[in-house]
Symmetry: D2
Subunit: 263 residues, 4 copies
């Protein structure tokens, strides 16, 4: 966590950083020769030191700085991968006014970034993790094949709920990462809300296509959407009029839909 | 989950309900006589049926309806306890406009309610669970006793962070539960933000007292505040100027402060 | 974790320790006066120091030493409660022979102990947490009341599964804690395996009674047994002969049965 | 869960099954055309039906049967992947004698299997997940590079602990899967226990090589070994003799070592 102290109003960046190295480190495995093995403890310290040297602006730029540092220092390293998860906080507000030094965690979702830096190639990605969303109208599932094991009824009106995880790639590293991230998030939510869904697949594709249409920097997007089933409860069994409004959310078994949509 | 269908704009209530019975059920334990044992499966169905009969308005009122139902039907029941956890959702918004049928989960926190219904006595409680909050100024910890095992330095400037769980009791059941809950939440956040803290204990007490002062219906409040330690990293070891802005959040070991404050 | 180094064969104790203080600490809450507040960081250090001074033999004896230490040092302390959870490890074995310095975690269950030390009263307890057990025969649930919300069929043959948590109290502190713990565990498993069960309640009571009968030191035992439902799948719907052998384990909703059985 | 009922002694198989399809399903995404989308609900029912038709012998053979079934029925399917996790149970024992109908969960570890079935190619894999192991001797970490961010001391004597996850591939499907799995497990534990470790990497490689040497059916093995750091506590700060026997297990930050070793 980095606290950016400013008079009357601090900012904070709360990041979990994962660093992975791939390269020519065979002797450490085969012979126990550690002469090229940068300890994970040193990697950890490097995260603190680089953040202190140059405050974290965006997760993507911090990831790029880390990747460059490790590639320069470690000649046997072929690829450094830096995965960053930002836990989002907002200032506590009282009406219009915000407290400058008090924060509340925003939601369960996280902002993610992923840097894959090879010596001659760089891939910059970003993402959203664990965004819980739900549609109570314009969601159907019908027309699917039936066999001797099929018991699912067709439906033209079901709850569609998911815990969205999206990751996308930028065509280059010259992006305003903060505003691009917000634009992708807004587009995903808008398309999800407006889509007339024939299936999770159908809505997933529309969301991905919406992002490619709206944000030119994005070259490909991967969406992972577990189907968080909400089973309707038939309350007419209990002598109560069934208005199709009671559901039970189940965890298992569940469907998991995923796809990558590229230009 | 209950979906309240209205033209152009649905509402939803997403509740986890726990029901516990205490009473004269000895024979089921000692003799395997199930003649007074209401199956948990029936309890579950009762939750669905009662919600369908009369839509859930507030968690507290729904809990009261369940408690009354079980006390009426089960003569051996001495006390029914209903614990409700509401998972909070908001409509997805596009600028000023909200989508009527699309929802996003609000935060990690939950709204809770607890009904303890005896035949002649009723206790109605409410709460907030898992609200992550953090102060970056006006937080100290000093003046504590030192012995041969003490290594903690004194500090006048530390990060104070917690995952707040608060539960409180109302003096009667004649409360506007929704607005009372929002008033308690606002008060807890305001006091937390404004307090000049000498310890978690100190701030906890101020928060509880603030609630008792502001919301007359509340007769007692319990606050549980794990100390989510954010340890400062001394980056001067790495040849970087230390501006006291890098911290690492640790999970274990941690302190846990709790108290009940009553009128 | 304490490693007891012996030539050729180490032993280890892997404990999580929770310490809670209750007493006259009002000023720390009301005035921010920390002069009597032993920091949790010091409590943590005390755990390390006391274990190093006198190696942990049994969780109960270590808890007693901690409780005594804190009561002696902290005059405002009325009650020290020490909860210990031991994570169990065994030596890795090769046939008959065990490796002296290599360990594998034993199961998901944990051994627990709980010391409640007042200035003039001492309660020593022990327990087992999260022991997953299952019966595939001699388990029924029938004869329960039915109302308009009942859909559960009666059964004389169901799977009974639970994640057992048991906690018990000893009449005094003069117990061979290790062998007593093993005797309780054996009794719980034997009775569970042999019982002709009419319900979870019925089996829970028999298990508790079995412990009181077999281990004279135990004065009371509390058993908590969530009903880990295994729902039978009717495969005749799929054109397959139903031999009543396919089940699906469900997490929610579930029943939770608990009771304390005392002499 | 499948219960194999035999007079006096049941057996049980407790499996979690994940099925994933890859193929030409574009229209379901682009046009909402579900005519080739086998519902996940039907996949679930198929698992029950096939297990009921032919009792599960080994996870691998059950996975193969499922993969074959789906490939035959779904012409657009290019690859069916079946991942199986077996939760291990043993009979409750009383001395030498085992109860035929009562079970206790064995450990935290799971047995896994993975079938990847293309129309003309088949890959059969197996694995172990979450096996907690620890070495208290013959473990060092030294000789690593140092830079301005390095603070880790060199050590010739540390605790090495990990939660091992291993997955391996068989060269063909004509394997006695149960005995092969047990042979791999035994080899992994033996090498871990006996190895003189210069690093996690070093021991990981020796374990993988040991498996390739001992079990000819295995063509490649992947090992994932998080470094579950046990930090030594210097108790001499507390005036106690330091015998290097007190450690604290930390979760984060931690190292994660992984490699695939093939013939």
């Amino acid at each position: 966590m980095q606290l950016l102290r400013r008079p009357g109003r601090d900012a904070l960046r709360d990041l979990t950083v994962a660093i992975s190295f791939r390269g020519q480190f065979d002797e450490s495995y085969t012979d126990g020769d550690n002469s090229a093995v940068l300890p994970t403890d040193t990697m950890k310290n490097t995260v603190y030191a680089l953040a202190a040297r140059e405050p974290v602006h965006e997760p993507e730029t911090f990831g790029l700085a880390l990747a460059r540092h490790f590639l320069e220092r470690n000649p046997r390293l072929r690829r450094a991968r830096i995965d960053l998860t930002e836990h989002l906080w907002g200032h506590i507000a009282r009406g219009e006014r915000e407290y400058g030094h008090a924060f509340v965690r925003k939601g369960g979702e996280a902002r993610t970034a992923a840097i894959q830096a090879h010596r001659k190639r760089l891939i910059v990605g970003a993402g959203i993790a664990d965004l819980l969303i739900l549609k109570s109208a314009h969601s159907a599932f019908s027309g699917f094949p039936r066999d001797e094991f099929t018991t699912l009824p067709e439906t033209r009106d079901r709850i569609l709920a998911t815990s969205l995880t999206a990751t996308w790639r930028y065509g280059d590293a010259d992006v305003e990462f903060g505003s691009a991230w917000r634009a992708v998030r807004t587009t995903l939510l808008d398309v999800f809300a407006e889509h007339h869904s024939e299936s999770v697949q159908h809505t997933l594709y529309a969301m991905g296509q919406g992002v490619l249409d709206a944000i030119p920097h994005v070259t490909a997007i991967r969406l992972v959407m577990p189907n968080k089933h909400h089973l309707p409860i038939d309350v007419s069994r209990f002598g109560v009029e069934d208005r199709h409004e009671i559901f039970v959310a189940t965890e298992e078994p569940h469907g998991l839909i995923e796809a990558t949509i590229s230009r």
